[in-house]
Symmetry: C2
Subunit: 338 residues, 2 copies
């Protein structure tokens, strides 16, 4: 029997359409073959990107040369512009503001054919440390209202280049999606005196039916009102509003856990397209009740007319079934079955 479930934070509804229930092998899709030709993110092509803003070269070496493990640089085709002042919206029907901000790329492996799920644990740690360092630097800009850290993997998930990478975009407005989550968290805080995300993490650990992995610092679960089949959240067990406040030890743990979680999806669906999205409080003060977390959205289904019209997602896989499937997968197997 199909169910309507309500997201406990935003109140958004989803339909868990169990009649259409799908198991992993039902999600057939063309495998996105990598080609490697003339990749601007590969060693030797550092001059084809804008100059780097961060790079780690364990063996040393010059800027914008090979030998890096992680490398960040401005996006050559940015969606926002670094120069200008974001003059606030004025009243009226046609409200507009310069899209002032930074748009950076963080390449998380020099291996063109690599994937985040197969990098070494040390590499995974370095990736999160690099993202956090860029996050902190970008948050110094007083024009920045919000920093979106995300990863698109696979062409059908919006990755225009196939070499594994993350992106960071800063915007001069407070995004609606963040405000909706913050409003839900605030309402729960006012009614109950507690953080709703802390409660979700604790409830999921107590119930176990949607848990994929638990570590000392984090919970990985398929959320109760999953919009996407096999959607996963990584929730920190310690309350912290801002991704930029994580210490080195937390970032390293997170890096390993992100890799493990992505690896489960890679093994379950033969490298599915996915979006990995960091949800964080903004750099400015006053949002301490928020609880940063990561959402991983496998793109195994298609958002279509019903979803665009209603905002209600139809999900053919219950999060309980998703969790059972994914927690049985060993994320430490980096070799693919042939």
């Amino acid at each position: 029997m199909p169910e309507i479930r309500k997201d406990p934070v935003t109140g958004n509804c989803v339909i868990i359409a169990t009649e259409r229930s799908k198991r992993p092998h039902d999600f057939t899709r063309p495998y996105e073959l990598k080609r490697s030709e003339n990749c601007v993110f590969c060693y030797g092509n550092e001059d084809k990107t804008p100059p780097e803003v961060l790079a780690w070269r364990p063996q040393g070496g010059e800027s914008n040369s090979p030998g890096w493990t992680v490398r960040a640089f401005p996006n050559k085709f940015p969606a926002v512009t670094p120069d200008g002042d974001p003059v606030p919206f004025e009243a009226g029907i046609s409200q507009v503001m310069a899209a002032v901000g930074a748009h950076e790329v963080v390449v998380d492996s020099p291996d063109h054919f690599g994937s985040l799920g197969r990098v070494s644990d040390e590499q995974a740690e370095q990736v999160l440390l690099a993202l956090a360092e860029r996050y902190k630097t970008l948050s110094q800009d007083s024009r920045v209202k919000y920093i979106q850290v995300f990863k698109n993997s696979g062409a059908t998930a919006g990755a225009s280049l196939e070499h594994t990478h993350w992106q960071i975009i800063t915007v001069p407005v407070m995004p609606a999606a963040f405000l909706a989550e913050f409003a839900g968290a605030k309402q729960h805080q006012e009614l109950n005196g507690t953080c709703i995300y802390c409660k979700i993490a604790a409830d999921e650990i107590a119930g176990m039916e949607r848990i994929v992995e638990i570590t000392d610092e984090f919970v990985v679960c398929s959320p109760y009102a999953s919009r996407f089949p096999f959607e996963l959240w990584i929730l920190p067990r310690k309350h912290e509003a801002d991704f930029g406040c994580l210490n080195k030890s937390d970032l390293k743990s997170l890096g390993c856990l992100v890799r493990r979680t992505v690896r489960r999806l890679e093994r379950a669906f033969n490298y599915p397209p996915y979006n990995l999205v960091v949800h964080t409080g903004p750099p400015e003060k006053g949002f301490d009740i928020f609880h940063w977390h990561i959402e991983i959205l496998p793109r195994l289904s298609i958002t279509a007319g019903f979803e665009w019209g209603t905002g209600i997602f139809i999900n053919p896989t219950s999060p309980e079934m998703a969790a059972v499937t994914l927690r049985e997968i060993d994320p430490d197997v980096r070799q693919d079955e042939s």
Copy 2:
């Protein structure tokens, strides 16, 4: 210079990334070839669908037999269930309700290789009359809070069957996307004493820069804060909250205009995937200030991590450029160039 534009109704922001500006020929994509094998929506296979709930046979004929021009029946794999009571959500973290509702398919042409843009004007009229008739019938069910009428065209827009069709899904909850539009309309009404959609229609006609077509009854324009490249809205010039209240004459005009508008996209992008979404007030009373309209969302770009994280869509094509392109296309040419 990229701009952040704010939707005048919902307040949602989009980035019009003019630096990434794309013209029609930049939107290359694989053409979705139709195969026709064993199509359950074709003549002769009427027994392979659930029994029809509406069908028009100009020459007469038995139910569930060939000879129809438009045919509606319950979806064989419904996302909602017809039986049961939608007991309201209770308090708590895990709120759930039976997804009670109807899920119907309306096949808008017997021609497997047909498309909505190429049907005759008479056929286009019949399609809208059929949709409205089903809408009215479904709105009699007191469990129904909202009726979503939509069309997915093309596999990458979520159409699981390639034979042209529409869908109608009723839900026992008021969808978040409707409530957001209604809240914006209400706020404008309270501040200005007028309907914001009426104002948008009038402003667009006055400004002309985003207009694709104007008729006595409707305006077709690319909206100021378009989320998708070549997004189009069909706005009625007469204020009316509920799609179900349209009279026969309006429905016939609308049918022809929907066909013309879809034909422009078909000709510009060689049958692009798209979602066509009716936005209407709900059947229940109290929503008269709403203004029903249609949104057509060509799926030429990919909604990715940034959009899911922020709710801010990055659109590489300004609506002004989209309107110029589409209004120059003659929608009365039904023949494709070879």
